[in-house]
């Protein structure tokens, strides 16, 4: 196990979190966690197939960033996309139905776990190939910029948040897009979820310089590192980045130091990460930490939080029922959606 990086400390006193926002964020994090736990259960029960990558442990990143976006902002994800989809507002029903391959799924059962889409929620997609979502996200940001600058639409101030992992930052598309984003001052936030591993490849064995946020500097871009297990720290960094982007001041790279509590995918034996390392990170569970914060700050009472958890559990259970009862795609529609009809 490599020497852990010192996590930057965020002073929670700076958070200025309202009770309402606190509960929104909490609910979102619980939803992410419970949804994924349910997926694991369903996968092992043979209800869902293919490669399924869970997000447990990283909830502070999705909730911290996406819950400070506007509903007309854009979000772009990877194969580890369930929780981003939920944070963005895709109903749990439709995400679960997608994982069950049903017609009611957000991708009509055609996409599956690694390909969640919702144009209604400006979810640009889950992208199954490493790095390929980054240029697509850049395109959404370019589009906002184009409307604002080339077409003079002052309402076009949407921001795009693009999520990806540490391993992805060794891929050329990452650098190509940092350059273009900075060059044209596009309204985009690159959110690196540095969970220390790319499947079985430890970050320090793959990157000659492991501090990813620093890479922004050589593109003249703002880069920050945050404790990715602290939703308030993530949220604070995201807010700064969002206002910068919204104001037309350009992109930001946010490196969130985080950890996944499960294997790479549900098919991964997860034999390489040490018990020590796992325990160390488990002890920083972002959900527990945020719970403690809410209670400590008296932003919510224990029974209120329990009520949230119960509500979410019901939503997740209902999602399974919904998914199970939903129809399969009609075989006669096998060829739908290949081309758009003009």
């Amino acid at each position: 196990m490599a020497q852990e990086r010192t996590l930057p400390v965020f002073d929670a006193a700076n958070a200025l979190l309202t009770r309402e926002d606190g509960l929104t964020v909490y609910e979102d994090m619980v939803l992410g966690r419970y949804f994924e736990d349910k997926c694991a259960e369903m996968y092992y029960r043979g209800r869902m197939f293919g490669f399924v990558h869970l997000y447990n442990g990283q909830e502070a990143v999705s909730s911290g960033v996406i819950k400070c976006l506007r509903s007309d902002d854009y979000v772009c994800s990877t194969y580890r996309d369930h929780v981003h989809a939920l944070s963005v507002g895709v109903p749990a029903n439709n995400v679960m139905a997608e994982l069950f391959g049903k017609q009611t799924g957000c991708s009509k059962g055609r996409g599956g776990s690694m390909h969640l889409f919702s144009s209604e929620h400006n979810l640009l997609g889950g992208f199954a190939f490493i790095g390929e979502g980054i240029p697509v996200a850049l395109g959404a940001a370019f589009q906002s910029h184009y409307r604002r600058v080339a077409l003079g639409d002052s309402n076009a101030d949407q921001v795009t948040a693009c999520f990806f992992g540490d391993g992805t930052t060794n891929n050329g598309q990452f650098f190509e897009c940092l350059n273009m984003a900075a060059l044209w001052k596009l309204p985009i936030i690159f959110v690196v979820e540095n969970n220390k591993w790319a499947i079985g490849m430890a970050h320090e064995r793959a990157s000659s310089q492991t501090e990813i946020y620093q890479k922004a500097s050589v593109f003249g871009m703002a880069g920050v590192e945050v404790d990715g297990m602290d939703v308030l720290a993530v949220r604070d960094a995201a807010k700064t980045a969002v206002s910068r982007a919204r104001a037309g001041e350009g992109p930001t790279l946010i490196e969130c130091l985080t950890y996944r509590f499960r294997g790479h995918s549900l098919a991964d034996p997860d034999e390489l990460r040490t018990k020590e390392e796992k325990e160390e990170w488990l002890s920083r569970d972002p959900l527990k930490r945020f719970e403690t914060y809410l209670l400590g700050q008296k932003l919510a009472a224990a029974d209120e939080l329990k009520a949230v958890r119960d509500k979410i559990q019901a939503i997740v259970d209902e999602a399974v029922t919904f998914a199970e009862q939903s129809p399969e795609p009609d075989p006669s529609e096998l060829r739908s959606y290949i081309f758009a009809e003009s």
């Binding site: 889409f117 144009s119 980054i134 697509v136 850049l138 060059l183 959606y337």
Partner: protein, 327 residues
Amino acid sequence: MADTLLFNALREAVDEEMGRDDAVFVLGEDVGVYGGSYKVTKGLYEKYGEFRVLDTPIAENSFTGMAVGAAMTGLRPIIEGMNMGFLLLAFNQIANNAGMLRYTSGGNYKIPMVIRGPGGVGRQLGAEHSQRLEAYFQAVPGLKIVACSTPYNAKGLLKSAIRDDNPVLFFEHVLLYNLKENLPEHDYLVPLDKAEVVRPGKDVTILTYSRMRHHVTQATKKLEQKGFDPEIIDLISLKPLDFETIGASIKKTHRVIVVEECMRTGGIGAEIVASINDRFFDELDAPILRMSSQDIPTPYNGKLESLTIVQPRQIEEAVEKMMALQI
């Protein structure tokens, strides 16, 4: 009215469509200030500004993906591949995202984009600059593939491609930019999915596209003098193929020659022969003759280079031979 050069016909198409719809924009290497390597975007940067005619860094995969994202969110990008070969670097974005994303998203997004530029064997440009990517891309689902061959069809097809709501790979040929033709003054479109009967005839159906169309018409001049009457069809749409036009012709001539610039293995011709076999086998009086480029990286040396591609003389002989066989 003065004749229009093919590259100018393309420029007019882009200009007219940009004027008509402000979601249309061009991006690529040197499309802006420089005006495009083959002048297809000359003057448009000055007219439409730096964001609608966007000079990109040399990052094909990423600017192609960027175009996909822009198309998903409502713009209508036109990518210029300075040479289509360079888009090998963008294969992933073209195949996975331009081609497949609409399906994989269950119809959530459409991707109206055009990827255009010069392909084909030029004059001693060497192997890497002489590629015929239509062969490499033809198996990718979700893409439309079109090849223009005259100023008239270049303009009308490009306008249709820009208006189409799907990704269109639009092949020009590096040696055809200076063809001239008198174009209509009025706005016109040429449909993306219709083959063009270049010369009606009854003896044999010659299926071809892009520059090889001109090799075929050249050969036909000689053949006419010898009393042959071939039907020449320019496929225009390489994917999907227009089987209505192709079938009607085969039912008339019962003989087919395919003339393509692709390498033989896995070329467009392979699919044509296989499809005709699927659909019109019983109409054939002779095996289809497939005339393709050789399976060789294009050599620089001019003589070797010309040996790799089909020459008019060979087409002439092939028609004569096929007709002799049958009489």
